[in-house]
């Protein structure tokens, strides 16, 4: 009951942040040279400069000399889904930006959720283990491991994994799909071609009949197509692993610190005085206290995760919003980049909201 009001209040609090976000993105757009704004329109229909200006003014309400009015129009466009177009020969998608985002965003969310789940599944037991044995060999190893996670650029880790796992180098598991056959066709300018090649309408080249969620993993199940399901899982493994490392490092470090801190608290002494066996003390008294504050860093880590997703998706040609951002930026698709920026912002704000609510739910000391 009370939690509901807490959630409501938190939602109200994020509204100014989101408005601020729109202002920020709008200001960026305002500062961008006008030629860049109209370029996709010129490219799309072969319009002249004056014609394209007219189109931008009328369709998007972007009047270069009237910021206030334009901002209001911009807000209207944001709500009505009129986010501009992306059009170019090197562009990953041709058409309205909002459609591109609709297709690409679910894949990134899938990636992020996968990475969060895997990293939690690893970091909780491992963090508990090393946190309860500070300065042991395992602990030293864990510290180095998490330090490296902080320090390692995501794209480089992706390279490393590709090198280790790609089939034709023959080093380790043959799990990645692009090993072996026709590899040379599969990369271009530093990144792999899209995850699974997309058609012009934004749908991957596969024999599914419909794409209700745009997430291959789910769509294939909905279609009852096991082959594409396994394919989707295969394609997910390396991107998820790469992204996992970054958050895993942060989580591990935080859980360890929490464990070490909590193991020295008075209530652990009380538990010992009751005669609770050491194992139970760690599991029941120490770990719970260490894990609850960990939820708060998840918010920060998700920000890093989304940033990391940009580079990782790019390297793997994974079909997500980071990939969309990078390719659009390379191709100077300004509307697409502005759209993805705002989407990243909103996703992050919502993620933080969820983290706050989960924290309030888990920690009995929070009064909401």
């Amino acid at each position: 009951m009370e939690l509901r009001y807490f959630i409501l209040r938190r939602i109200l609090v994020i509204i100014p942040t989101i408005i601020g976000l729109t202002i920020l993105v709008f200001l960026i757009m305002w500062a961008i040279p006008f030629d860049q704004l109209i370029a996709p329109y010129i490219h799309q229909k072969g319009l002249s400069r004056a014609q394209a200006t007219l189109v931008v003014e009328q369709q998007l309400g972007f009047y270069k000399n009237d910021p206030v009015l334009t901002y209001l129009f911009y807000l209207r466009d944001l709500f009505s889904g009129n986010w501009g177009i992306m059009f170019g020969s090197a562009s990953p998608y041709n058409g309205p930006v909002i459609n591109a985002i609709e297709i690409f965003l679910p894949n990134t969310i899938q990636l992020a959720i996968g990475a969060v789940i895997v990293s939690m599944a690893i970091s909780i037991p491992v963090g508990t283990y090393i946190g309860s044995r500070p300065n042991s060999l395992g602990d030293q190893f864990g510290r180095v491991f998490s330090l490296a996670g902080y320090a390692m650029p995501g794209f480089w880790l992706a390279y490393l994994l590709i090198y280790l796992f790609a089939k034709n180098t023959g080093i380790l598991l043959p799990v990645v799909p692009w090993g072996g056959n026709g590899l040379n066709g599969y990369y271009s300018s530093g990144h792999l071609v899209p995850w699974i090649p997309i058609q012009v309408n934004g749908h991957p080249v596969s024999d599914l009949t419909s794409y209700p969620t745009h997430v291959l993993l789910i769509d294939s199940l909905l279609n009852g197509n096991i082959y594409w399901f396994t394919k989707a899982v295969e394609y997910l493994i390396l991107p998820v692993l790469t992204l996992t490392y970054g958050i895993l490092a942060g989580l591990l470090r935080f859980i360890r610190a929490g464990m070490v801190d909590s193991i020295n608290q008075e209530y652990v002494k009380t538990a010992r005085a009751k005669g609770v066996p050491e194992k139970t003390i760690i599991k029941r008294h120490v770990r719970k206290n260490a894990l609850i504050p960990t939820v708060t860093v998840l918010g920060l880590l998700v920000a890093g995760l989304l940033g990391g997703a940009v580079a990782v998706e790019f390297v793997f040609g994974y079909y997500g919003i980071g990939y969309l951002t990078v390719l659009s930026a390379e191709d100077l698709q300004v509307w697409a980049v502005m759209g993805t920026t705002i989407v990243f912002g909103i996703v992050l704000v919502i993620a933080n909201l969820v983290v706050d609510v989960v924290y309030a739910y888990l920690d009995p000391r929070i009064r909401y």
Binding site: Q36, Y163, G190, L348
Partner: protein
């Protein structure tokens, strides 16, 4: 100890040491006992020394300056980029010590290229942290000290900056400043100040409540003087920690941006990110089994970021009064 009268006259009165100096001495001592932090500090300094040396006397490192940077390419200075000149990188150090780590695109030796890249990476990163951090600290101290509406506005503004991943925001800002390497610096400065503003604001709030600031205020010292003489020096220690950690983070973001190919990097300016991506060949070479052009610069970068993180952690342990015992 045995008290001998004869000795007593010899003993000079203990020299008066300023408490600040005393404090710094103990800090330094504590830092030196932390071996990992010391290692981090040493390696980081080494990197900086290399970068400085390279900036002043590039020829000593076998690294020519910008305009003629490709001079070490075997067979002279290529003026145009011709894909046909891309040779398979090789590990043979036939051309001398410069070739010890193999070659990359244009048959360019990796080792001196990495050293040359360091100058840009560290220089830019230092500039971003100093300028962005400086702006952030000033804004943070002022808003923390003033409180009220100024503070509220500052908090909301930083909230907005925190609500977008840095990398994405940087990509968006690049549209404003143009897609060249130097505009990354402007973009990152704009993005970086809120971190410091937040950090110093919190510190300033707690410092403000302390006795000596109160009494200075009561004594009629002016606001500005108060902020910069009494509050500012006391909020800096977490800033140092953040500063050192950010030097690493920014190098990472910087090289990521370059790696993504969003900035139209001058091919004459090697940068660690662009070295890893090797003019778009890193991945294909990697898959074909030529690992060194992509992996070696990465390791070089990793060593730097790890050691700077070690140093930052060590600093935190030393400067944080809670951890200091």
């Amino acid at each position: 100890m045995v008290d001998v009268d004869a000795f007593k006259t010899e003993i000079a009165p203990p020299r008066k040491i300023h408490p600040k100096v005393e404090e710094m001495k103990t800090t330094g001592k504590l830092f030196l006992t932390n071996k990992l932090a010391l290692v981090g500090f040493t390696i980081t300094s080494f990197y900086f020394i290399l970068a400085i040396l390279d900036a002043i006397y590039p020829q000593y490192l076998g690294v020519a300056n910008d305009s003629t940077y490709l001079s070490w390419v075997p067979g002279g200075t290529p003026t145009t980029i011709q894909p046909s000149q891309l040779l398979s990188p090789s590990l043979t150090p036939a051309g001398g010590w410069m070739f010890i780590l193999g070659t990359t695109f244009y048959n360019m030796p990796i080792f001196p290229a990495m050293l040359a890249a360091l100058k840009f990476d560290l220089g830019y990163s230092l500039a971003i942290v100093m300028i962005g951090g400086g702006i952030g600290v000033v804004i943070g101290v002022i808003s923390g000290y003033m409180g009220g509406i100024v503070d509220e506005v500052m908090m909301r503004v930083t909230d907005i900056f925190f609500s977008v991943p840095f990398l994405v925001l940087a990509i968006a800002f690049l549209f404003v400043f143009g897609h060249v390497l130097s505009s990354v610096v402007y973009a990152l400065i704009i993005i970086w100040w809120p971190i410091y503003a937040r950090l110093t604001r919190g510190q300033a709030l707690s410092t403000k409540a302390m006795n000596y600031v109160e009494s200075a205020r009561a004594a009629g010292s002016s606001k500005l003087r108060n902020i910069f003489v009494h509050v500012l020096p006391n909020v800096l220690s977490p800033v140092y920690v953040q500063f050192s950690l950010d030097l690493g983070t920014i190098v990472l973001i910087f090289s990521t941006l370059d790696f993504l190919g969003i900035v139209n990097g001058n091919p004459n300016v090697p940068e660690l990110g662009s070295l890893i991506v090797a003019q778009g060949n890193g991945l294909s070479w990697l898959i074909a089994g030529y690992w060194w052009p992509a992996i070696i610069p990465g390791i070089f970068l990793l060593i730097f970021t790890i050691s700077i993180n070690l140093m930052g952690d060590g600093l935190r342990d030393v400067l944080d009064p809670k951890l200091r015992r």
